[in-house]
Symmetry: C2
Subunit: 230 residues, 2 copies
DNA sequence: TAGATTGTTAATCGATTAACAATC
DNA sequence: TAGATTGTTAATCGATTAACAATC
């Protein structure tokens, strides 16, 4: 491992913390919008839905941006976190697979407001090409390399059927895209330097179903909490 | 804690394992479809995208369903996992908020094939009520309690704007729904016996953006991997 | 100063991993 | 039996939590 200059040191931040930083950013934005200038770790933790202990531990990886006995300046902390997670610059996104889900993602306003610009929609089906979705024309999948190069795409969203996803991923990697958000219910093989995050809707429901089953059977066994061990 | 009968013992399975069981189930289904009758932990792990060590550890929480020196019977193991996660029965789902995302979720075929039946679509906006989406008519949100009772709904999907999500969650809890999949970018407060899983599309992109930023700056610092420490 | 709240420490907990004895 | 592969153990790693010294 080579050393880093102190400026961009940003010592290794644990993955669990990285995953929560956007949550804090959102809570801070809400506080700022509400006109709050300063908050305690307790306030911010409540707004983000975590414990204050966890929040302070997370923030400690970024630096020392609060004031003991006082709290955090909302706008200042917001800016520090935004910088840390690269929110200060725009990211160009391509969506591949413009079915129901792809269309919904293309229309999703939450991306734009967080610095993500959807620059192209691609689909392999000629029937969909030429359609206009969310102000963009659906282009042939073959345009991928050109689109990536032209718009400096850094993130791709895969919303194709499972059987097409690996081929799409291979093409994305070949085109130089190293960050993929995968909605296709399949495992993608990619080189080590490519990050894949997976959103699997069925699996989320299956996890809930597992918990529901346990709750239901617990109720049958203990119809009355007062009963004790009889 | 009360004791459980051995039959439904299902000793506490770690959450991380629960989250992977659907992955194994999917991999086993694919193997069965391909006509494979038996597989090793190595085979199955590869198909599910995990290490064989992790797979065996996970399966050990369910019981001892393999044969040393031989491997696992695909169909038998598939059935055991399906039973464990409650896949053997249907779950009734209501979707609240029928915008772009809600429509896409309503049309998503992956739910149905895994035992999830979307029984109703609800939206507070009169303009959407009466629309037909994926073969269902969009009903007023006020119908919630009636729908839950009538169809024995156990899982709700919230796809409303953030500002409406907490009110929707409160109504769901009041109606007796104890499992919520939340797509609204907001923290939901619910009682302890209610499970909420969150899918946050912007946050997924933000996490990727963080990693992208680190990759990009690493390249600037080390333009040539061969250069060494100079 | 006294009261408040951060940043950090140390303990605990849960998840992952590698190795191998059990056993087909 | 010899070879293969599971199921389990023990070590390691990473994340969470509670407590409190530092300090505004």
């Amino acid at each position: 491992m080579s050393e880093r200059t102190p400026a961009e040191a940003s010592r290794d931040i644990p993955e669990a913390t990285v995953a929560r930083l956007p949550l804090y950013l959102r809570a801070l934005t809400a506080l700022a919008d509400a006109g709050t200038a300063r908050c305690s770790s307790e306030d911010l933790a409540a707004a983000a839905g975590v414990t204050s202990s966890k929040l302070r531990k997370d923030l400690s990886y970024l630096g020392s941006y609060g004031t003991r006995g006082v709290g955090y300046e909302v706008e200042f902390l917001r800016h520090q976190i935004a910088r840390e997670i690269g929110q200060t610059q725009d990211h160009h996104v391509v969506i591949v697979g413009i079915g129901n889900l792809g269309q919904a993602l293309a229309s999703f306003s939450g991306f734009r407001s967080r610095g993500f610009r959807v620059v192209a929609l691609l689909d392999a089906a000629p029937a969909r090409q030429g359609d206009e979705v969310a102000g963009l024309v659906v282009r042939p999948f073959e345009d991928l390399a050109a689109v990536v190069a032209e718009h400096r795409v850094t993130i791709a969203v895969v919303a194709t059927p499972a059987h097409a996803a690996q081929d799409v991923a291979d093409a994305l990697v070949a085109a130089g895209v190293r960050n993929i958000l995968n909605f296709a219910p399949t495992v993608l093989s990619v080189p080590d330097d490519v990050d894949v995050r997976k959103v699997d809707l069925s699996i989320e429901l299956q996890i809930l179903a597992y918990h529901e089953q346990r709750k239901a059977s617990a109720e049958v066994e203990e119809p009355d909490m007062e009963r004790g061990l009889a």
